[in-house]
């Protein structure tokens, strides 16, 4: 599995598109001839993968938005999966 460092900067991979689907009331990730339906947590993380914020900053943003702490492990875990699935790139 990919080891992700807190200072790396994730972005949605070329050819992938994150989008809110009104008809189904969910966020989806679209790619050539396919689609992944995202649960709320996954969509919150991916919405922040903008090629600007580092992993560490994304964690901070989420902790602030949800008034909680200790999300680091979950976010790193999800981003590792997302990277393996080629959904995101890491700089």
């Amino acid at each position: 599995m990919t080891q992700i460092a807190p200072n790396q900067i994730p972005g949605i991979a070329n050819g992938y598109r994150l989008q809110f689907e009104k008809a189904q009331d969910i966020w989806v990730l679209l790619y050539p001839e396919g689609m992944v339906k995202l649960n709320p947590t996954a969509s919150q993380i991916l919405q922040r993968c903008d090629n600007k914020a580092s992993v560490q900053e994304i964690v901070a943003q989420l902790e602030e938005a949800f008034e909680t702490s200790g999300l680091s492990e979950d976010v790193l875990g999800f981003l590792a999966i997302a990277h393996e699935q080629h959904w995101i790139t890491l700089r």
């Binding site: 050819g15 598109r17 008809a23 989806v28 790619y31 396919g34 992944v36 649960n39 947590t41």
Partner: protein, 392 residues
């Protein structure tokens, strides 16, 4: 968080009372095509369906399907580049929020049109390796084909589209998967689909020529795996075996009327692109009915939805949720009844038909079959075969 929290793919809970939306819209813009593939998936009688929806008809279809929840849109054919309003339709689909896919042979994809398609918001091109000549044996050495693919591949790269190559595999080219993979690597593809011919339409007419032997298939899979080991990080290779060599059928279209909606050139709506061959009432047309009515209420789309239509052995089969009894078109083609188990299933009483075809494939010597010419898809053959009622 774990990956189990992510629902993958185009799934829909089959036990839900109301079907989910037609997530996948396949717009077959035209049956016209400059090529003559012997495994063409267009209906054998395509030449008797020449009418095509006009631009406004397609735009209306795109809008209605999107409002219902369609999100993936594929433009295919025939060769969709032959529609000169393709750019308009892509732009409309894009602005509606579809992820837009173009399935093309690359014939007619010039620099100018590539630019216009990028501008229109096209997300992805799937380039297929179909040969542009009738000399199937020359398929791989044919420089004209290679030059064309080279040119189109460069355009795809230049415009930053993900490059997905698709090559239909059969008895005549399966021994050369190594060369096909090398070609894909050379073109800089990210994904290569080595899709064995599935036996519908023209491929049924030409089955003896196309179905590979077991030995051929095993060798091709071995070679593919070797390349995967060596180049896995550069090129993702998808290898689809012909379902005749499986003992369970595929869950065709992910279920009838479940996620896929095909609109044929003349506006006929189908649960899958080959369903028009099935006996029974005609499928509805977008010129006469709304997509909402077609998807949720039409007889055609409810005919084999869910499991209520099943006969034995499917009806009491513990695996019926896994494959929903397989493919209705294959059941009709091989067993004469679209409501029986797909004969690929080894629980089907008709499995013998599939075994016979496989057996023949082991015995048939290398090409060509002298007494039985390969039939290339073209309008003349199409009219001849549609007049000949022995061909489905």
């Amino acid at each position: 968080m774990s990956s189990t929290m992510l629902e993958h793919g185009l799934k829909h809970d089959p036990s839900a009372t109301r079907p989910g939306p037609p997530l996948w819209l396949l717009a077959e813009l035209t049956y016209r095509c400059p090529l003559h593939c012997a495994f063409c998936f267009n209906p054998v009688d395509f030449a008797t369906h020449e009418a095509e929806l006009d631009t406004q008809g397609w735009i209306e279809t795109l809008r209605q399907a999107r409002a219902l929840g369609s999100v993936q849109c594929g433009f295919s054919g025939g060769e969709p580049m032959l529609r000169d309003d393709l750019e308009i339709l892509v732009a409309e689909a894009h602005s509606l929020g579809y992820y837009t896919n173009l399935l093309t042979t690359g014939v007619g994809l010039t620099e100018k049109r590539a630019e216009a398609l990028k501008e229109a918001g096209l997300d992805h091109i799937q380039l297929s390796f179909q040969d542009s000549t009738r000399e199937m044996n020359d398929f791989l050495s044919n420089t004209r084909t290679f030059d064309l693919k080279n040119k189109v591949a460069a355009l795809i790269k230049k415009h930053d589209w993900p490059m997905v190559l698709n090559c239909v595999i059969h008895r005549m080219n399966i021994d050369h998967v190594d060369k096909i993979i090398e070609m894909a690597l050379e073109l800089g593809a990210e994904t290569l689909e080595l899709a064995n011919t599935q036996y519908y339409s023209w491929a049924v007419v030409n089955r003896d020529h196309l179905l590979p032997s077991r030995a051929q298939l095993e060798k091709a899979e071995r070679v593919t795996n070797e390349y995967r080991e060596r180049y896995g990080d550069r090129l993702q290779i998808v290898f689809v075996i012909p379902d005749y060599y499986e003992n369970r059928p595929k869950k065709c279209m992910n279920g009838w009327g479940n996620v896929f909606l095909t609109i044929t050139p003349d506006g006929t709506a189908l649960p899958c692109h080959t369903a028009r061959m099935l006996p029974g009432a005609d499928f509805p047309n977008v010129a006469e009915h709304s997509i909402e009515h077609i998807w949720y209420d039409s007889e055609g789309f409810n005919r084999y939805r869910g499991k209520g239509w099943m006969k034995e052995p499917c009806r009491s089969c513990p695996e019926s949720d896994d494959d929903l009894g397989g493919c209705r078109c294959q059941a009709f083609l091989l067993a004469g009844d679209p409501a029986v188990a797909d004969p690929v299933c080894d629980k089907s009483p008709d499995r013998g038909v599939v075994d016979q075809a496989i057996e023949k494939a082991q015995l048939t010597p290398a090409l060509p079959l002298k007494d039985q010419p390969l039939i290339f898809r073209d309008p003349v053959e199409s009219r001849r075969l549609s007049a000949d009622k022995t061909v489905p």
